[in-house]
Symmetry: C2
Subunit: 310 residues, 2 copies
């Protein structure tokens, strides 16, 4: 199979998964109440939908679904786990954009949730999406085996928590005032937590749902770590190289805010080299187990995160 074919398959799969994720989020955030709920407050539901629907590459759901698919597991439960993960990602964007944090007005080319609604609503929307993600993951509809569901919940909480995404956001916040946080090693650690942990969970959850054996899980973990790191260096590079129209959010903002980035820590050329090495390492990790060696789409994803323009 040539590189060109893989790309076409990759793009088609990425679009398909984005559409399925959008469809399920649309249903989960529909007006029909959950068991035990009375009518859902319409304006708030609209805000939750605004924060979750109509945008994004859905890269995290894609990685989760494609990883499970390596093991022949493809069903509504996998899609639910993926949609729950996307809710966590969306909540983090909503809170991150708040005036007290990054104070961003633009996200995915549209006003941020607190701009389109108000700050109180945006705080509660974030809390609501975070909570709902655990509801959707823990629900029997996600998997018949409670052991699988609780393993997903625990892994997700760890990836999103103090040792993962939130821990990374804290370091990010502190880095604006701490010179030592701008050293390459500190930035690598920050990024592994802030964006890496959730991308790593995507792959891990796919492996859990796919009942991968220990060797495949270890290789996929390496893949997830390398891909997550590549993704964030690429993000730092894009912030310097791209413009607002392509990004759908303000460009050049990292330097304005003295954010700890690998471009600042290493220089642009070394950052590009690191990105490409990480992308290659992710691909190489897949070659160490039978299903992984044939994982054209996941390999293409590792190239995609390094070469994307937005």
């Amino acid at each position: 199979m040539t590189h060109g074919e893989a790309t076409a398959e990759f793009e088609s799969r990425l679009n398909d998964v984005a559409a399925s994720t959008e469809g399920l989020l649309d249903r989960l955030l529909g007006s029909a109440p959950l068991p035990g709920e009375t009518a859902r407050p319409p304006r708030f539901l609209e805000a939750m939908r605004y924060a979750s629907l109509g945008g994004g590459k859905r890269l995290r759901p894609f990685l989760l679904i494609e990883t499970a698919r390596l093991f022949g597991v493809e069903n509504e439960g996998v899609l639910r786990a993926a949609a729950a993960l996307e809710m966590i990602h969306c909540y983090s964007l909503v809170h991150d954009d708040l005036p007290a944090l990054d104070n961003d007005d633009l996200r995915r080319g549209r006003p941020t949730t607190h701009k389109a609604f108000d700050e109180a609503t945006a705080i509660l929307v974030g809390d609501g999406l975070l909570t709902y993600a655990f509801d959707v993951t823990a629900d029997p509809a996600t998997h018949a085996d409670p052991g699988i569901r609780v393993e997903l919940v625990l892994s997700l909480a760890r990836a999103a928590g103090l040792g993962g995404m939130i821990g990374g956001q804290v370091l990010d916040l502190e880095a604006e005032r701490a010179p030592e946080a701008h050293k390459p090693e500190a930035v690598i650690k920050l990024q592994a937590m802030k964006t890496g942990a959730l991308l790593h969970y995507a792959v891990k959850a796919g492996a859990i749902l796919g009942k991968a054996d220990a060797a495949a899980k270890a290789a996929l973990s390496d893949y997830g770590h390398a891909l997550g790191a590549a993704f964030q260096v690429a993000d730092d590079i894009l912030d310097v190289e791209s413009d607002e129209a392509a990004l759908g959010k303000r460009a050049g903002k990292d330097a304005d805010r003295n954010k700890a980035t690998l471009v600042a820590a290493l220089g642009l050329e070394a950052a590009r080299e690191r990105r490409d090495k990480l992308s290659a390492a992710a691909i190489a990790a897949l070659d160490s187990f039978p299903q992984g060696a044939k994982a054209i789409v996941l390999k293409e994803a590792a190239r995609f995160v390094a070469t994307r323009k937005s």
Copy 2:
């Protein structure tokens, strides 16, 4: 057994459970990292501890632990589930106090988290406690049976989510502008969600961990609903009758903000009557199953929520 003896036993149990909960929260929020975590950021950890330790009656942990104890179940896992529930309660207070929401400067007699630290930290502390609560609940240390753990996670997510606490907070926010939200039925629904759902979960989680049979679960559910409703009417009454020194937070603020309360909806006398009826209904619900009939401490809890002074 006389009323006086029950009261002494109740107070002693309440203090014991508060101390145990405090002890476990102190350990869970200690500086030792969780598996997968690197060093915990010290200032942020201090803020999470500030938001969780050194205050509160720990009523929710108490109800959870006492309910499980009815069925002879008393162990570290029960305490973990209780501490996780308290984290959810504490996160909700931190976010509720934010300038964009209730804009409160005082909580439990101390500056609120965003006042003692800053707004960005308070938002992330809330997110961190919410996430950590699911981590602690889903962890194998809470119960050997993954089916029990995932049932707890799902029930907790529902109680804290759109159909529970968050849904109630949204209605509360909207009520400040909506005259129809101040009618008694609307206020009762709002309160059942905003504070009732988490108190109800406390009892439900105790019943799950105690492996209560269906009849006992149904009776405990009635107890939890009645107790939760009594608690909130009592709160509305306290806001009118008490002063800041006794409450540890600003008094009279409900009326200032046009909050939907049952005192405003029913009048003070009818609110008191409703509170006492709900307290009696909670106690009566326990009499319908063998362990419940002997539940001196839980019965006393139903009296306590109605008669407390803070």
